[in-house]
Amino acid sequence: MTKLYKALTTVTLAGAIAALSAPAMARDTISIVGSSTVYPFATVVAERFGRNTDFATPKIESTGSGGGLKLFCQGVGTQHPDITNASRRMKKSEFDMCQANGVKEITEVRIGADGIVMANSKEAEKLDLSLKQIFLALAKDVPNPDGSNELVANPYMNWNEIDSSLPDIAISVMGPPPTSGTRDAFVELAMESGCKQFPMIAQMEDDNEDKFKTVCQSMREDGPFIEAGENDNLIVQRLAQDPETLGIFGYSFLMENTGQIQAATVNGVEPTPEAISSDQYPVARSLWFYVKKAHVGVVPGIQEYISEFTSEGTWGDNGYLVDVGLIPSPRNERMKIAKAVKELAPMTGNEL
């Protein structure tokens, strides 16, 4: 029995010492947080970086863009992350928060773009949708079809009820759940833009912003919009089986499955890499990451990780990120960013 007690005491002491000796530890692994949309690209770069250099493989947490920036802006010091990924640009308020917490010099890197597509089976008719039609098909409340100035619960059940040019099939769209970044972007880029095209709702944006947000961002819950899980593979499989269903997902999944599915054109624009990177395709967003300059030189490898990320073999037209679905920025812009990144040019706050 005494042996057991001795062992127990040792273990407890060891635990206590370990617990107390933690703070202010040097870190030799780059810590990256942020967007789940950038996560698949950043992880590929990180793994290559770890494999092909002497540095440790960076650790990447998928916290969402907002969560990542919040962690990033908490301060300087190795307990805070070095880099944060974002599927939208940093907001002015976030920049100010960073400044207030002593994170003065931040380098911004735009890595490319990502498009969100609405696709259906190749056996079905290819659709041409406008943002307005997308809003009418999927919103919870829409302006009354008789033209009066009020909102009613979405009455449309068939595509041709929205516009006679659309086919006579039931509206059935599978999309990501609210926890998904793709859903956030779709709501913001497609639903909200379509929503604003109704004068009565656009008016609301000035008068009652909360109401405007609720109207524009609420997806319908009466059946035609089906929330699928986070697993976009499942949506693609369902589309192949059921030609009358549309699916909403990232461009990379369209690219992986071009044999089975086709994308609808939005406002007449086909989601091609060119159209997405030049912002012609309306449901597209830029992807970014932000670097804390104060950590460069303190945590080893940050500079090298960034130059790996911004080399032509990575984010260029034939880089390996294209294989995972990144849409590269135009070459002259890439060159400009790569140059700024090399000098770690800090943001001024005015660009936001």
Partner: protein
């Protein structure tokens, strides 16, 4: 008399109905067990049917001539030459020798895509370690790309979509016949950390992370839990304060685990400044979560020690402390251990509290200490299940099987300890 007879008659009449009710009741019980077993069976069947292929890897074995001219490499130890060297060229040449049909540059590139992403890094690492191998011919096994692997393993499974063109499929079939492409036991799964490529991904990092985390959890929750239980049961005065503590411990056992994660974030990371994603913080959070379970089960174990033992010890003049440490705790130990192991098994399967302290992360390197970044098994399963590459579907199920194996071992250990150490009165 007449009354009694009629009563007996009533009993006899109702007898049939009562037997019937009893049979029905038993039937419900059997049905309930059947439903539970059936769902368990369906769960296992689904996991095993999806996951058994995760234990098989697809490899491409080639006789590669490590020609220095082909690789533009004179000295493999000179790191400056790495960036200008082409480590992939000899592999593609070796592959092309097996598929003479692929002659054009584009076709050769297609062939190169059969290989996993890190095939060239493997050549580089091999040459850096053994520079004398330059200009020799070596037989090297490469992991096949996910696309090839899916085709080889799941060609006739409609759940998977084949992403090879018909020409590529023909080449793969040819290589399969020659034995160049082959399947074998997936040792990568148990010897590597996470990867974005299914062929290179393993659970070793997660297993080590889980073990380190559990070590911290055990080191803290077991002694603290047992001390608390012993004090509350044996020494604490019966008053409002101890009642209050007792109610709160019982309450804590029912608090959702994510709350402990929030607590861990606020206290250990923000207040004490501990790093994110490390096993120490994970272990501390899970220790807090397991404490109530251990305290409650330990108190029950102490309560079940018969008073006669205490009285006998006191009778021969033992002090209160001697009674507790020499007689009560040893006899209650089997129950305490069982409770602790069940609490640990619970903690092993937990992900929610770890999300907030940064252990849900992409971590490639296998952790080497309590303060290096780590993730745990259930988190690894979650990360793989939400990945877009098809090869991760089977890997996630395979990882579930690994996790279940650990759970079964822990629970079996709890039962064995109880059976072995328990004393009956």
């Amino acid at each position: 008399m007449t009354d009694q007879r009629s009563q007996a008659e009533i009993v006899r009449k109702s007898l049939k109905r009562r037997y019937r009710t009893e049979r029905r009741f038993r039937l419900y019980g059997i049905l309930a067990i059947f439903i539970a077993l059936a769902s368990l069976f369906i769960l296992f069947a689904d996991i095993i049917s999806k996951g058994h292929t995760g234990f098989v890897k697809t490899t491409i074995t080639l006789e590669v001539t490590l020609d220095s001219g082909m690789m533009y490499l004179d000295d493999p130890t000179d790191k400056d030459q790495w960036s200008s060297a082409d480590f992939k060229a000899p592999i593609i040449a070796a592959l092309q020798a097996q598929v003479p049909e692929a002659a054009s540059a584009a076709e050769k590139r297609e062939l190169g895509r059969f290989l996993g992403t890190f095939a060239d890094s493997e050549i580089r690492d091999l040459l850096t370690k053994n520079p004398e191998l330059l200009n020799t011919t070596q037989t090297i096994e490469f992991p096949a790309h996910d696309r090839v692997s899916v085709y080889v393993k799941h060609a006739d499974n409609p759940r998977y979509s084949i992403k090879l063109s018909e020409q590529q499929q023909r080449w793969v079939d040819e290589l399969l016949q020659k034995g160049i492409i082959d399947t074998s036991f997936n040792d990568v799964l148990f010897s590597r950390g996470d990867s974005r490529e299914p062929a290179n991904a393993g659970v070793l990092g997660a297993i080590v992370g889980s073990l380190l985390t559990m070590l911290v959890t055990l080191a803290i929750s077991f002694p603290v839990g047992i001390s608390a239980a012993v004090y509350l049961e044996e020494f604490a005065p019966q008053n409002k304060l101890t009642d209050f503590i007792e109610v709160n411990i019982n309450n804590l056992a029912a608090v959702p685990s994510i709350i402990f994660g929030l607590l861990g974030l606020a206290v250990f990371i923000n207040l004490f400044g501990m790093p994110r994603s490390v096993p120490v913080v994970g272990g501390l959070v899970l220790a807090l979560m397991t404490l109530p379970t251990i305290i409650i089960s330990s108190r029950a174990a102490i309560k079940s020690v018969p008073p006669s033992i205490r009285e006998a010890a006191e009778g021969v003049g033992a002090s209160k402390m001697q009674v507790v440490l020499h007689h009560v705790v040893p006899l209650a130990m089997p129950g305490m251990l069982t409770g602790s192991i069940i609490g640990m098994a619970q903690a092993l399967g937990e992900t929610a509290p770890l999300l907030l302290i940064g252990m849900v992360a992409f971590i490639v390197d296998v952790p080497d200490g309590l303060f290096s970044s780590a993730t745990v098994l259930p988190v690894q399963i979650y990360l793989w299940a939400s990945s877009s590459e098809q090869g991760f579907v089977e890997l996630a199920s395979a990882a579930i099987m690994v996790l279940l194996t650990f759970m079964i071992i822990m629970n079996a250990l709890a039962i064995w300890l109880r059976k072995r150490l328990e004393r009956r009165w």
